[in-house]
Amino acid sequence: MATKLPAKDVVIIGLGWTGAILAHELANEGLDIVAIERGPWRDTATSFNIGYAADELRYGVRYDLCQKTAQGTLTFRNSDRETALPIRQWGSFQPGNGVGGAGVHWGGQTWRFLPSDFCIRSHLSERYGARFIPEELSIQDWGVTYDNLEPYYDRFEYLAGISGKAGNIKGVIQAGGNPFEGPRKREYPLPPMQMTLAPTLFGEAARSIGYHPFPSPSANLSTDYTNPLGVRMGQCTYCGFCVRFGCANYSKATPQTTILPVLMRKSNFEVRTESEVLRINLDRSGKHATGVTYIDESGNKREQPAELVLVCAFAFNNVHLMLLSGIGRSYDPKTRQGTVGRNYAYQTYSSVQLYFDDKNFNPFISAGALGQSADDFNGDNFDHAGLNFVGGAGITCQPTNGRPLANLPVPPGTPRWGARWKEQVKKNYLRSFGFVSQGSSHSAYANCLDLDPTYTDRIGRPLLRMTFDFPENDVRMSNYITGKMEPIAKAMNPRQYVVNRVATPYSVIPDQSTHNTGGAIMGTDPTLSAVNKYLQSWDVPNVFVIGASAFPQNPGYNPTGTVGALAYWAADALSSKYLKSPGPLVPA
């Protein structure tokens, strides 16, 4: 029997980017808020000593900042013809754990999606005809437009101190920026990072063959910054320990470095760490949440009543909680009925590795989002007429690190160990770099999340089951874009370049783009989406589900910028609409 605690106005599940943003915005409204976080407390001062923050074995190899699979994992299969098996070691994706969530160990690439990404089905139908969209794809419009989200993208970018160069300010194309991006109302808060040699050469080569490279928008700060909340951040030192690591220098935008110092000072906010929510509780009608039940840090079961439940965990953990709590109907790929678990997507990835004789790239001078990108083949930026696919990819050169365990590129044919391997490592460590295509992942009817019928977690709850393989459309897309990468490689005149096409079937083992989306998607039709355009559950209106779980499909960009924008968007809807009149914000 769970001990019932005094009621709160709001309970937030998970204190990462979205939980911290929602908590801060609603605390400003005077609400009494508790965040329940499965993992430990983390802040820069106490968790990331400069002396061990760069422990590659601990963080880079053993994923110390990630969810522990013994505490919670999911099962995986490529299709419903297989039996899913539990994932025991992360690779293809790396859910975070603890205060700050995956926002602690992210790299810092902070994109806006293209305007057409938000209305993909109607846009493609209008431009190419509805029959152009492959039948396997379940892609759909978001219910919000780029213009709706623009002010919220802006808020997130200024909160985080993003370094970049605008390509389109109020419709006027800006030299040096991304000419394909949607209009933004003002420049990035900080100028781009200083370029290292590899992205500089990449940019020159891409430009020489007619592409439009620009500095990638980065949450690694190009200079010192004070954000609108008054929190102070420092200039990035280009140490190359961003992805999978916490930043010891206050230089990477994370909840810790942007928002928690202010949030934690608020007397109407508290966080309970090492506490795992078991389920969201519903009243007898099943249409109203009464709070959550969780296990606290001492292993005691607690019931936390609340008027409002905000589900702010990692994307697929949001979906897991919805399914465990019986909120919405589980999606069935056979009947294509149900909403929760629908439209899970990932990303489609390929790369080119180059080897030179006469260049020194000093790869250890790097950062998680330092580099250049070209968007000429992203989304619908190019004419798909006559092509056999929809979607596209950003082509980016962002050498994130020169870490000694992870980054020792050697050409194919090199032995995996021994004197010959050492010789090749020595020869190539300073003289090699890669660039990638990060492609859209279109949701497909066959790809989904549901509860596993066999495997349970340590508490006895069914694990989440992921069923995913690359849609044929996305493989065709990725191979086409990879073909567009080769001329860039050739223009740099390397000794050798090696093309790594998207590997099928999809595997959860290798690190690819790491971005999981969907499963509790937003939309305009309650039979096709789990949440409305304000991220409010169609079925239980005092539950909001915030994060990449809401993406109906995954464009060819990193998700965090849009996750931040959606968090502010939802917070604004809560403050300006829901609190004034609790209930469904969109009639079902």
């Binding site: 009621a7 106005d9 009494d32 001062a45 004070t226 929190v231 102070r232 140490c239 110092p261 008027e307």
Partner: protein, 412 residues
């Protein structure tokens, strides 16, 4: 949802009623007086000694390590038995300003009556009015935990005869009202000299070195006079006010004891009062002493220190020692860095320190600890380097000095 908002609103209102109720009990104490007393008690940082971390407000219990032994901050809540609830106003004022408690009991000057003696009776009574308005706490404490012979309170009569100058100081008519207000706040209320003025063998202020830096509880409180090299004379009034108000300015971030002072006291003071404090402090100009010459850059300690600095310290403090405003303290020409006494510097490198977090500067950045990573000789070398680079000049730090600080019981 509305219900619980209303509930918390009701609690806040009920709390206010308690304050009002206590105030009304004695009509001579208006709400204005209580508010003023609260402001003064905050500016004087009474909680530093009289409120334990996590304990009840002013219920006492804070351990104070003095060179003579331990003292414990007293319970100064209105509890008649454990606190000072049944004291008369005169008894209170006498304790505050003369160091004589009830029935003439002599206080130790850890209670800074040598400073408070300069306080007006009116301000002392305002503090009294405020203390009477707070919740009584029944915690009984023995303040005096000093060893023999220091535990003999009557000995303080001799101490007072030699060291104590009772009474207010007259305003200096040749100076502005703002300067005089600053002087009063620094000496009578803030008792800045308690930490920043060095002490003689009896633990009393060495008046000739007023505000020129003092050692207490294992930390060195730096020179805060307007002297340019050793003090804070290079700071503008605005930067000094920003430091006191938020804990951070273009030069540095408050931490350790000063961080606590900012959080609990000066960040709550008005801009006008902080301006006055700044005007006064920057006007204190002791005789300039000849600067030592910096160590030669080719000195082996300097070369070793520079290599360590570049590897470990420069990512935040920069190669030029300039740091980052309001985040990573500037080391070049920093009075705290080339102070005569390197105690704080050694401690900070060994054990790190957490910057103050305030509403105005919420970040609270931390200097990490290095004791687990650097040997004593390396700590000595890197500190010797920063004390003699970029225009700094100060005595080198020896391995033995590092060892001594590591061996202190309060280490870490």
């Amino acid at each position: 949802m509305c219900a619980s908002i209303t509930r918390s609103g009701f609690l806040a209102f009920a709390g206010l009623l308690v304050i009002l109720g206590n105030a009304v009990a004695d009509e001579s104490h208006s709400l204005d007086t209580i508010e003023r007393g609260k402001y003064l008690a905050t500016a004087a940082d009474c909680t530093a000694c009289h409120t334990r971390s996590g304990g009840k407000l002013f219920a006492g219990g804070v351990n104070l390590q003095t060179p003579f032994g331990a003292l414990v901050g007293a319970n100064i809540t209105p509890d008649p038995a454990a606190g000072i609830g049944d004291w008369t106003d005169d008894e209170f004022v006498s304790a505050l300003r003369d160091g004589r408690g009830r029935r003439g009991k002599r206080l130790y000057p850890a209670m800074p009556y040598p400073a408070y003696t300069k306080m007006t009776r009116e301000d002392a009574l305002a503090i009294r009015a405020y203390l009477r308005s707070i919740e009584p706490a029944p915690d009984r404490l023995e303040s005096n935990q000093l060893p023999f012979p220091f535990n003999i309170r009557s000995a303080m009569a001799v101490w007072n005869m030699i060291n104590f100058q009772p009474g207010q100081e007259a305003a200096d008519p040749s100076k502005s009202g703002q300067w005089n207000r600053g002087h009063y706040l620094v000496d009578a209320i803030g008792h800045c000299g308690a930490c920043h003025t060095p002490k003689n063998v009896m633990g009393a202020d060495r008046r000739s070195s007023y505000l020129q830096g003092g050692l207490l509880q294992g930390w060195y409180a730096p020179n805060i006079t307007g002297e340019t090299r050793r003090g804070i004379g290079a700071w503008s009034i605005e930067e000094l006010v920003a430091y006191l108000k938020t804990g951070a300015n273009a030069y540095t971030v408050a931490s350790g004891g000063m961080g606590e002072e900012v959080v609990h006291a000066s960040s709550h003071m008005t801009e006008a009062d902080l301006d006055a404090v700044a005007v006064y402090l920057l006007s204190v100009k002791p005789a300039v002493r000849q600067s030592p010459l910096p160590l030669d850059a080719t000195d082996p300690r300097m070369m070793a220190g520079q290599a360590l600095y570049k590897d470990i310290c420069s990512p935040c403090h920069t190669d030029a020692g300039t740091g980052a405003a309001r985040l990573f303290p500037r080391l070049a020409r920093s009075p705290a860095v080339h102070a005569d006494d390197p105690t704080t510097l050694i401690r900070t490198v060994l054990y790190g320190s957490r910057g103050a977090a305030t509403d105005g500067a919420p970040t609270g950045p931390r200097m990490p600890s290095f004791f687990w990573r650097l040997g004593d000789a390396q700590v000595a070398a890197v500190i010797t380097y920063i004390r003699n680079a970029w225009g700094n000049a100060a005595s080198p730090v020896s391995t033995n000095q590092v060892r001594e600080i590591k061996s202190e019981p309060s280490a870490g």
